[in-house]
Amino acid sequence: MPFRTAHATALVRPTDRAADHPAPPPALAGIGLKARHAALLLDSRPPVAFLEIHAENYMGAGGPPHRWLAALREHYPVSVHGVGLSLGGATPLDEDHLEALARVVERSRPALVSEHLAWSQSDGVHLNDLLPIPYTPATLAHVAARIDRVQERLRRPILIENPSAYIRYADSPIPEAEFLAELTRRTGCGILLDVNNLFVCAHNIGTDPLAYLDTLPAGAVGEYHLAGHHHRQFPDGTSLRIDDHGSRVIPEVWALYRAAVARIGARPTLIEWDSDIPPLDVLCDEAARADAEAATAETAITETKEALATPTSPEVRDAVGA
C-alpha cells in the first residue's frame, strides 16, 4: 500500500513529489486542450499555466491528437483528466480502461492526473455521464479500494473531483466533503475541487458550500476547476443548474472561487469549456480572470492577517470581528 502512508499535503508540494513525474504546474490558471485550438496554441503560445486533456480522447494508438500533444508538451505542463473510470461504480473496475489510462499517462508524462468521485458504467455499459453515489461507510471502503488500485497501477497519487448533482440519495449519511477528506486519509489521493460543481450542488440539492470548504483538508486540494453552467427555469418558478461547461463562469461562482482560495489557498485552476467551444482567446481571457480573482482573494487574506498582527489597528480588528 505505497500511498496509504503518504501525507496528503505532499501532493501539492513539488519538493516532495516522486522523482519520475513532472512537478505540479504553478498555482495559476490553465485551459482545456481542444483539437481546434491546437495549431493556434502552438503558434501563439498564450501565457496559460497548463493544458488539461480528457484521457479518453487520447486512447487511440497514434495520429494527429498525439502529434499535437507531443508538440504542445514542449511548451506547457499537461494535466490528464479521466472521465471514464467509474470509480463509484458497483460493478468491477474496468481494468482494460485502467490500462488505457496508464498508457496515456506514460505517454504524456502529466504534471497532474485526476478522476471523478462518480460512476459512469454499469455492467460494462458506458453512460457518458458522471453520476453521484450515496456516501456510506460501505461506498467509502469500495471507492478507497478502487483508488488504491488506480494509484498502484499508475504509480502516482491522483486527484479526485467532486461531482455535480441533481438528485439526493435517501441513504447517504456522510457529507460529501467528509467523504472526500476520508478518501485522502485512506488512500493518499488528493482533491480536485470543482467550484462550479459545488455551486451547482448548493442550488440543486442544498449543499452548504462554505461549510463544505471548511471541511475539506486544504493541504489535499491540488487543483480547482471552474466552468459555466446552464440555469434551467421551470414554469413553476423552480430551477436546476445544469453543469454543461458551455459558457463563461458566472459571478456567483467567481465569488465562491475567491472564498475557496481564501480558505484553501491558490492552486492550479482549470477553465473547463466542453460544449459550444469558443475561440481560444475567450478561454485565455477566462484564465486571466481566474488569476486575477485568486490574487484578489490572496491579497485580502494577507491584508487581514497583517492587520490582525498590528497592535495599533483596533478598528480593523473590530471590522473583521477578531
Binding site: P65, V125, N128, N204
Partner: protein, 258 residues
C-alpha cells in the same frame, strides 16, 4: 453495496430506455425545487443526447445526409440496441454500418451503410498507430530472383473498402467547402484504400485487381500469391505499374523476405 449496484443497474436501464423512473425514486429523497422526474431527465439527456452527439461527430457525413433531427432519433434507436461498451468514444459506432443496413427508415438510401463504413475506416485510420511508409526505391534494393517471396505489410491505418456506390465522391461532396462534383449513384462499384501515410487520412481509388492484390497481401500472402489473386479477379492486372502506383501512394508499412 448490493443496493447501490441495483440502483445503478436501474439507472442505466432508465438512461437508455426512459422507463423505470418509479423504481429509482425509492432510493432518492426530495430536496425541494423541481420534481424528481425533471431531475432524472437531466441524466437521461446527458446519456442519450451526449452519446447521439458523439455518434454524429464520428459519422458527420451520414448526419449531413439524413439531417440532424432525423440523425438524433436514429442514433437513439442505435444506442438502445448497442449501448457503448467503452468509456473512450473515439471508436463509437463500430456496429453502426451494420445497424443501418437493417434500419427500415433509411431503406431508400441504400448507400448510407457504405458511407458509414467509409467513416468508420476514416476514424480507424485517423487514430491508428503511426507507421513509416516504405519508399518506392525499396524494390531496387531487393534480389529480383526472390521478389515472388516478398511479404509486404500494410500500414497500421489501412482499411480496404468496396462498395456498389461512389461513397468516396459522396463523402467528398459532403465536406465543408466541397468541390463541385457530379455524383451518379449508378456509376459503378468503387474499391478504396483508406489509410494515413502521414497525418492526413487519404482515400485512394483502386482497380478491382489492385483491391484483390492488397487484400491478399494484408492476409500475409506472398507477392506471387497476391499477384495470382489479382489476376483471378482482373486478367488485365499489370503488376509492375500497379505495384509502382501503390508504393508511390505509400501503401506499405514494411516488408519481409523470408
Amino acid at each position: 453495496m448490493r443496493s447501490v449496484r441495483e440502483f445503478q443497474t436501474r439507472m442505466r436501464d432508465f438512461a437508455f430506455d426512459a422507463d423505470g423512473r418509479g423504481a429509482l425514486a425509492g432510493a432518492l429523497t426530495d430536496c425541494g425545487g423541481p420534481p424528481m422526474a425533471d431531475r432524472l431527465s437531466i441524466h437521461r439527456n446527458t446519456t442519450m443526447l451526449g452519446l447521439a452527439g458523439a455518434l454524429g461527430d464520428a459519422f458527420p457525413v451520414v448526419r449531413r445526409l439524413v439531417g440532424e433531427l432525423f440523425f438524433d432519433r436514429m442514433a437513439q434507436d442505435f444506442l438502445r440496441a448497442h449501448p457503448p461498451r467503452r468509456a473512450s468514444l473515439l471508436t463509437i459506432g463500430a456496429e453502426f454500418p451494420a445497424f443501418l443496413t437493417g434500419y427500415a427508415p433509411v431503406r431508400e438510401l441504400p448507400y448510407l451503410s457504405d458511407v458509414a463504413r467509409l467513416e468508420c475506416a476514416w476514424t480507424h485510420a485517423y487514430h491508428a498507430a503511426d507507421g513509416e511508409p516504405l519508399l518506392p526505391q525499396i524494390l531496387a534494393t531487393l534480389d529480383p530472383e526472390r521478389l515472388g517471396e516478398l511479404r509486404l505489410s500494410p500500414l497500421p491505418s489501412q482499411r480496404l473498402l468496396a462498395s456498389a456506390y461512389p461513397v468516396d465522391a459522396i463523402w467528398r461532396s459532403n465536406q465543408d467547402a466541397a468541390p463541385d462534383e457530379e455524383i451518379r449513384l449508378d456509376s459503378g462499384p468503387v474499391h478504396l484504400l483508406v489509410h494515413r501515410p502521414e497525418m492526413a487520412v487519404v482515400f485512394h481509388p483502386l482497380s478491382r485487381g489492385a483491391f484483390s492484390f492488397l487484400m491478399a497481401l494484408a492476409a500475409q500472402q506472398s507477392l506471387a500469391a497476391a499477384w495470382d489473386s489479382a489476376l483471378a479477379t482482373d486478367p488485365d492486372f499489370d503488376l509492375a505499374s500497379e505495384l509502382a502506383a501503390l508504393l508511390t501512394a505509400r501503401a506499405f508499412g514494411g516488408y519481409r523476405l523470408p
